[in-house]
Each structure stands twice: as C-alpha cells, then as structure tokens.
C-alpha cells in the first residue's frame, strides 16, 4: 500500500479535479486505487462515482462512528477506482468527528491498516484546503504529497503554510518519499500565466510533477458525469494528467515499497 495526499494551501485551485484525474490515470495504468475523500465538502464523488444516484449513500463519517460497515461506505467509481466518499453529515456530527480525530492522531493509519489492502494498492487522499485536522491525519500517513497550485501570485504566496505542515508531519518519517507539485489550469497564451509558470519551474525544479493546461473538456466532463479520459480522450488535459501520473509512479519506483510500519 502506498499513500498519496493531494493538498492545497488555498481553495479553488482544482485540487479535487486533480485528485480524481490522478486516480483515473493511476487506475488506467493497472494499479488498484482507493480514493478517500477527507474533505467535508464531499465533492470527490461527483468526479469519481460510477453511479451518481448513490450520491446520498454512506461515507467515511458514518463508518467512523459505526453507523455502517467500511465496505458499505465504499462505492464503485470510474475506471475501477474504489471510492470512499466523506458522506453527508450535519455540522454537529462533523464537529464531533473532528474532535475525535484530533484526539486520535493515528486514526487514519490504523484504519487503513485494518482494511488489509493488496500490497500494490495506491491510496489517494483528497484533503480540504489549508490547515485542518483532516490534513494532519493525511500528512501523518502520506508517503507522497501532490501540492496543487495555480500559476498565479496567490498560490505562490501561500506555499509556506503547506510546506511547514509537511516539514512537521511528513519529513521526519523514514517512509516519506517527497512533496511534489502540480500546476493546474496553466494557459500559455497568457503572458502572466507563462511568466509565473517560468518562475515556478525554476523554483520547484525536479519537485514539479507536471503542468496541466487549462482545458474546457475538464469541466464539461464533470457536467456530463463522466471522466475527461472518456469525454475527450485526445485532449491536452488527459495527456497532462497522464504525464503527472507517470512521474508520480517514477517517484515511487525510485524507493523500495514501504507500508507495514507507517501507522506505528
């Protein structure tokens, strides 16, 4: 089992889109993929659920408090991805959940271990933007982070917030591989986008996993309840996500698989 966390310092950068498309591309490369939505917005299901009518079914929040079994909370997603949505909860239940998670820092690691997933499974975690108890949980088990940014000044300025958390929760762990970056919605036809992109490239160097070009097909695929891969197989976005995925797998391949001790 290898764990990837998709994180963002601020909202609106297309993090959930990146998570979903990485999951699809990873599954297309032949790996079993478990996508877990740790974001109370509960939006990953719109991108990944094969059957949108199951949208109001159980999720992670229900399973955590024992209202349903874990298998019951999971559903089938596109491309063979197994999806564990956050689930629909009201404000009080969410605050209770967050309290319990804050009290049990290794909850996610223990839970994942209890799933007894096949060894080659990739677990992809979608997290809410900015610091939160969910992000803490994710970073405590994550082996590879995918930080999502836009090629604009705001994304660049907020990077240190995430980097401090990564330093705190990930870097000390021996099984941690790396923090990588994906620049989303680039537009080479706009001067500012091109310039910021250039600066980010120089700043990030090999930590940059890839750049995803702005592409209408991405939002249209979401509106059509299908994947971009299926909706516009030849689009630049699909090629970009495939490239990011290949680079991500390369990073994992460069280190021996670990997992047994990650939940301590």
């Amino acid at each position: 089992m290898q764990v990837v966390s998709v994180i963002a310092a601020k909202g609106g950068v297309g993090k959930t889109t990146v998570t979903a498309n990485l999951c699809i591309a990873l599954a297309a490369s032949g790996r079993p993929v478990l996508a877990i939505d740790l974001d109370p917005q509960n939006a990953l299901r719109f991108h990944l659920a094969a059957d949108p009518r199951q949208a109001h079914a159980h999720g992670l929040a229900d399973a955590e408090r024992g209202a349903c079994g874990w298998t019951e909370a999971m559903q089938r997603g596109h491309q063979g991805v197994v999806l564990l949505p956050f689930g629909q909860v009201d404000d009080e239940a969410q605050i209770d959940l967050e309290g319990r998670l804050a009290a049990q820092p290794h909850w996610l690691g223990e839970t994942l271990a209890s799933f007894r997933l096949p060894e080659d499974t990739l677990v992809v975690l979608d997290t809410p933007p900015g610091p939160s108890v969910y992000l803490q949980q994710a970073l405590r088990v994550s082996q590879l982070n995918v930080v999502t940014l836009l090629p604009d000044a705001g994304s660049f300025a907020t990077l240190p917030i995430v980097e401090r958390m990564v330093d705190k929760y990930c870097s000390p762990r021996p099984d941690f591989v790396a923090s990588t970056y994906v620049i989303n919605q680039a537009d080479a036809s706009r001067r500012l986008s091109r310039d910021v992109l250039q600066t980010l490239r120089e700043e990030l160097g090999p930590r940059l996993l890839g750049v995803v070009q702005q592409d209408q097909a991405v939002s249209e695929a979401l509106a059509s309840a299908t994947t971009v891969r299926h909706y516009a197989p030849h689009s630049q976005a699909v090629a970009d996500f495939a490239h990011c995925t290949a680079r991500l797998l390369e990073r994992f391949a460069a280190v021996p698989a670990a997992g047994a001790h990650l939940y301590r």
């Binding site: 070009q213 592409d215 209408q216 097909a217 689009s235």
Partner: protein, 724 residues
C-alpha cells in the same frame, strides 16, 4: 598536433620495432611492384585477376576498417597493374589519328587513376571526431561574433537565420549577431533594429563575400567568428557543439560542420530522388571532410563554421585572391602550421539551389576557384604543409578538373565506331582482362567506403551534367586565374511551370546525338564492315550504351519540375496541441512545417469550419509556445494550418520549436542504406528512360507548334491550389 589519431602510442609488434617495420614496408613494396609489372599471358592475367577479385569479395564479407584497407590495397594493385600495362603495351600507335585520340583517352585515364589513389588516401580512415564539452564554468566561455553575410537574398530568407541565431544557447552577453548587408537595404536595417541585431554595411562591394566579412572583422572584437550563409539556419546547439575543441587546441583555427539542405537540390527534384539517393553534397560532408580531418586538412566551406579571430587575422582575414575564398583561407592557416577540425554533425540547415542552371552556376564558381588556387597558391609546393595535407588539397582541386576527362569518356568509344581508330592498342580480350578488374575493384571498394554517402554510378550522372560547363572555366582559370566573373548563387526562387531547360541540356543533347550516331555506326560495322573485329565493336557499343544511359539521366535532370510554394515544407514529427476557439484542446503530432504553416496528424477526425481560427502549441523542452493560426484544409485526420501574422517573439519561438531544434537534422543525414549494384543501375536506367521520354515529348510538341503557328492558350497549372 592534437589530432586524436596521433596521440595514442602504437604498441603493435611493428610499432615497437622500427627495423621490423621498415623491413615489412620493403617486402610489401617489392611484392607490390612485382605484382604490378610482371608481364603475363592472357590466360595468366585472367587467372590472377579472378583470384584477386575473389579475395576482395571474401574480404568484403567482413565489416571493419582493416577490411576496407585490405580492399583498398588490392584495388590499388589491380589498378596500378592496369595503368602500367596501358602505358607500356597499349600506346604503340601507327597512325597520327590513333595517336591523338589514344593520347586523349590516356590522359583521362591517368587523371581518373590519380584521383582514385588520392581519394583512397583521403577517405581510408575518417576521423569521426566527437565534440568536446564546454567547461562547466560559463564565465570561461569565449565571446563569439556571428556573421550573416547577405547581398541580394530576400528578407524572407534571411529572417529565419537571424531569429535562429538569436536562439543559440550561449551566454547572452557573449554572443553578438551581425547581418553584413552588402545590398545596403533599408528593409534589412529596420528588421535588424526591430529584432535587436547589428546591421553592418560598407561603402563598396569589393571582393564580394570575403571582402564583406573582412570589413566586418575590422569593426568587431569577439574572440571567435561564426559564419552563416544567410539561408543556413543554425540549431540552438551549434556553438556548444562547435566550440569545445577550441578550448582543447590553442592552435585550432577553424571548425567546420556540414552543410545540410532541407529542400531538394535540382537533381533530387527533377529526378525524384530526394531522400532516397544520397545527394551530391553528402559524399563531401559525410566522408571526404571527415577523411581530410585525419590528415588535419579539413577545409573551410564558407558557412556553418567557426574561426578563431587571432588566426584568421594572422592569415590576412578571409582570402580574396580566388573565388573560393573559404578553401583558400583554410589553406593559408595550414601553411602557417595551424589546425582545422571537422565535426560531422549537421548543426544548421539551408535551402538548396532551386534550378539546375543555378546549381551549375554554383559549381562553376567552385571549380573556377579551385583551379585558381591550384595556379596561384599550389598546395603541392610552398612552405608549411605536411605531405598528406598537400595530397588532400591537390585532390580537392583535381576533382574539379573532371570536365575534360568526363567528356572524353563520354565520347571515347566513338573514335572506333566512327573512324575505326584503335585508341587502345590491344585486343578486346586483353582489354577485358586488364580493364574490367580495374573497374570492378575500384567500384567494389568505393561502394564499401562510400556506400552510405554516394551510390555507385551516381557520380557519373552528377559529373556528366556539369562536365561541359566546368570544363571551360577551369581551363580558363588554369591559363589565367584572373579571368572570368563572379556569380552569386540564387536561392529561394520559384519555378512556376514545368519546363525543359534546353539551354542547360544543350551539351547533354549534343553528346546524346553523337552517341546515337555511334550506335548506328556500330550496328553498321557489325553487319557489313567489321566482321573481323566483332568483339571490339561490341566492346565499344556496350560502352556507348552505358554512356547513353548516363546521358539520358542528365537530360532528365534538365527537365525542371514545378516548385509552387514559397515556403519549403519540412517533414517533422513532434508533439503539438491544438486549442480550439471554444476552449477544447486536442493532442496531436505535426507531420510537416514551413515558415508559413503547419501540417498536423490528428488522433481522430474533427469537424471544423472553413478558415476556423485555432491556436496551436509546440514545445521546446517543458516550455509551451502558442501560435495563432487558421485552418486551411481538413481531410480525414489531417489538418493544415496557416499561421496568422506572428510577432517577432512568436516567430523566434517558432524557429526554436522547429528548425533550431538541436536534434532535427542529425537523424536525416548520412543514413542511406547501402544499395546493391543492380538496383542502382536499374534505378538510373529507369530515370534515363524517363529523360528520353520527356525529351522526345518536348521536341515532338515543339515540332507540332512549328507546324501549327497559331499559339494556343497555356493551360492553367493543375493542382495549383495545394495548401501552403
């Protein structure tokens, strides 16, 4: 000397014992002389020839340089034996006609023999020099002035070169670009100012290109001078590839890289051989320059090269005494003990001459210039050269004297067929026994050495076309090097309709007519006159037929095919992305490009409106560049785009993504598969047949028009609506 071939110690048995080595030379030399001069009967000569030829065929089965050297040795022995026999036994003439014609043929044969031997010296061991990496510390890199001399070429030709030169990977503050405009054109000045390069003019045009460069040398200070003809577009890696050796060898005066042409030369265009048969220049840049490099005799070819300023100034700048100033400049460097180097990596590409007449004009200039150097600064004499350098230079010059010998070969059998003159005083069977081994060995060996760069017999086609035209200027230059005028090679023209260039074909047509008459005379001799000498008649007839095949190909080369597009299309498969106006994108691949547009292979068919506006993205490494364009045609999975007007930045980016790519030309060059003899001959025969057909069709039409004087309206050219 830092030539790599000379730096490693010779630790072979013969290398360690100089006496043994001398003895080996002596024994080999004596054996060789014996093999060459021993007189043999017909039977014995045949046996010896067959034995040696079988040995050569066996050796030819084994790859490697030792095999090549062994085959060269056998070829030299067999050809020397033939020449010895020719000189000592076959020149016993009893009447003046035989003597004059026979002497003419002998001169041609001796010339061919000398050129064969010198060619072996030149190409026996190509150096295959590899580039040396520049130091990691960029501060140590020298300053370079890049000169782009131009005289009358249009701005559309020059701008890509300038923009590509600006894209060369070299520290910005250490590379200055100068457009040396001998045309003094306002349009050029404005362009240079707009893109940020220096526009240089002078108040006269003395000594043409050489004078132009020398004038600029006086006003610039860079440690090195890179020179590009205005239509040779450099790749971004040019300087990093070419400059490394200068750091390693302080006496290195010049580094030359190949001239690669992305458009078809007139032979390739008119004979339909572009990309399938090695062109005329490939032998020189693929093999001969690389062979010269072993002997430290690479010469400067005027473009795609870098000169060290100090050494260039020491020899007085670019030579102005001859019209091939480039080769002469290198010769002067060698005379002062400096080195030159050749890197067989195409780092630039340009337009080939469009028409056969333009091509002929260019070759006349080269031939004249080489003959001039031969006269005024003969490399055989004078100070400073090593013997091998002298031989390489002499061969380069002798090569351009092929005019007369080639004309003699094309008419030699007629001496017998017309006049019954025996130009070789020997029986047909003796000629077979001596001459055939000589021809077979020379062809077998050269096809092994040159196979990737020149196919058998093509040499004869290239030379036969030019022979008549370079014969006179070389003769004039040999008599008086100062006579004759300079002509600039025109590039980038359009041939708007197909036509048969009767002016340039005139010489071939005349020779053709003679050879046809020769066939008639031969048939007449066969049937009535010469029943005693049937074998001799057949020998001369076969020779005449061969000449007809070669001349037919020459005639085909004069049939100018149409050249419609202004911008040349270059095949190129690189990833691209198409962005449609509605925000959708599609990953695709280019199949060709030009400065005006781009052809795309799409993964699936798309519907587009006519002239739909799109944006196309190309990549340079990780960087994406987008270019506005509109759809010109949409057929199946192929889409043709025409660029909208581009800004200088966009144009430069386009050059960077296409012609300036470091790897773009290397794979297309020197990669011809070896071709079997019968295939090559068959191909030439087919081309020749087409040549005859076109020629007869041309004269048939011309004849009809004479009979019917009312001029008909010319037909509009079919297919003229091809996308640009």
């Amino acid at each position: 000397m830092t030539s790599p071939a000379e730096t490693h110690a010779d630790d072979t048995l013969l290398g360690r014992h100089p006496l043994l080595r001398a003895a080996a030379w002596l024994v080999t030399g004596l054996l060789m002389v014996a093999l060459i001069i021993t007189p043999l009967s017909l039977q014995q000569q045949l046996t010896l020839s067959v034995a040696i030829f079988i040995a050569a065929l066996v050796i030819n089965r084994f790859a490697g340089r030792f095999g090549s050297l062994a085959m060269i040795f056998l070829s030299v022995v067999v050809s020397s034996r033939y020449m010895y026999w020719r000189l000592t036994e076959t020149m016993v003439m009893d009447n003046p006609l035989d003597l004059v014609l026979g002497f003419g043929l002998l001169v041609a044969e001796v010339y061919a023999f000398v050129v064969l031997l010198l060619g072996y010296v030149q190409t026996a061991w190509p150096l295959e020099r590899k580039p040396v990496a520049m130091p990691d510390d960029v501060d140590q890199w020298p300053t370079v002035d890049l000169f782009i001399p131009t005289y009358n070429e249009s701005l559309s030709v020059v701008r890509a070169t300038v923009l590509a030169a600006q894209s060369i990977d070299w520290p910005r503050d250490k590379l200055k670009i100068f457009v040396l405009d001998d045309g003094r054109r306002e349009e050029f000045r404005v362009f240079c100012e707009a893109v940020g390069v220096t526009h240089v003019t002078r108040d006269n045009n003395r000594h043409a290109k050489a004078g132009n460069i020398n004038a600029a040398l006086k006003n610039t200070t860079g440690e090195f001078i890179a020179i590009f003809d205005c239509d040779h577009i450099p790749t971004r890696s040019f300087l990093q590839v070419a400059m490394g050796w200068f750091g390693k060898d302080p006496k290195l005066g010049m580094v030359q890289t190949p001239h690669y042409f992305f458009s078809a030369d007139p032979f390739e265009k008119n004979l339909g051989t572009f990309g399938t048969v090695p062109n005329e220049g490939e032998l020189f840049y693929g093999l001969i320059q690389d062979g010269n490099d072993l002997w430290n005799a690479t010469f400067f070819c005027g473009s795609c090269a870098v000169l060290r300023r100090t050494i260039c100034e020491e020899v007085g700048g670019i030579a102005v005494e001859t019209v091939t100033e480039d080769a002469h400049t290198a010769l002067k460097m060698h005379r002062l003990g400096y080195n030159t180097a050749y890197l067989a990596l195409p780092q630039a590409a340009g337009l080939a001459t469009e028409s056969l007449s333009g091509h002929v004009g260019q070759r006349i200039r080269w031939a004249r210039g080489m003959a001039q150097i031969f006269r005024i600064d003969n490399p055989l004499f004078g100070r400073g050269l090593k013997w091998a350098q002298r031989l390489c230079y002499v061969n380069a010059m002798l090569h351009f004297l092929y005019g007369l010998p080639r004309l003699i070969y094309l008419t030699a059998p007629l001496a017998y067929l017309f006049f019954g003159a025996s130009v070789i005083h020997a029986s047909a069977s003796m000629i077979f026994a001596y001459a055939l081994p000589h021809i077979f060995h020379a062809n077998l060996t050269n096809s092994r050495i040159q196979g990737r760069f020149r196919y058998l017999f093509w040499n004869e086609v290239y030379e036969a076309v030019l022979a008549w035209y370079i014969f006179r200027p070389t003769l004039v230059a040999l008599i008086n090097p100062k006579l004759g005028s300079f002509n600039v090679t025109a590039k980038g023209g359009l041939i708007e309709k197909e036509y048969f260039d009767t002016t340039i074909a005139k010489a071939s047509l005349f020779l053709l007519a003679l050879n046809f008459l020769g066939v008639a005379a031969g048939l007449w001799r066969l049937s009535w006159v010469d029943s005693d000498n049937i074998a001799t008649v057949w020998l001369n007839l076969a020779w005449t037929f061969y000449n007809l095949v070669i001349l037919g190909a020459c005639v085909a080369a004069a049939n100018e095919t149409r050249q419609l597009r202004n911008a040349h299309r270059i095949a190129l498969q690189i990833p691209a992305t198409l962005y449609f106006a509605d925000g959708h994108s599609m990953r695709c691949e280019t199949y060709d490009f030009s400065t005006g547009g781009l052809g795309l292979d799409l993964p699936t068919e798309v519907k587009t409106e006519a002239e739909a506006a799109v944006t196309v993205a190309l990549f340079r490494g990780d960087n994406e560049f987008r270019f506005p364009a509109h759809v010109r045609f949409n057929r199946g999975k192929r889409l043709g785009l025409q660029f909208d007007p581009l800004s200088f930045d966009q144009e430069r980016a386009l050059v960077q993504c296409t012609t300036a790519r470091a790897d773009i030309w290397a794979a297309r060059w020197g990669n011809h598969p070896r071709a079997a003899v019968h295939r090559v001959l068959g191909h030439i025969a087919r081309i020749s047949a087409i040549g005859f057909k076109d020629m007869f069709a041309h004269y048939y039409r011309a004849g009809l028009q004479k009979l019917r004087p009312a001029p008909r309206q010319p037909q509009p050219a079919a297919g003229a609506k091809e996308p640009t």
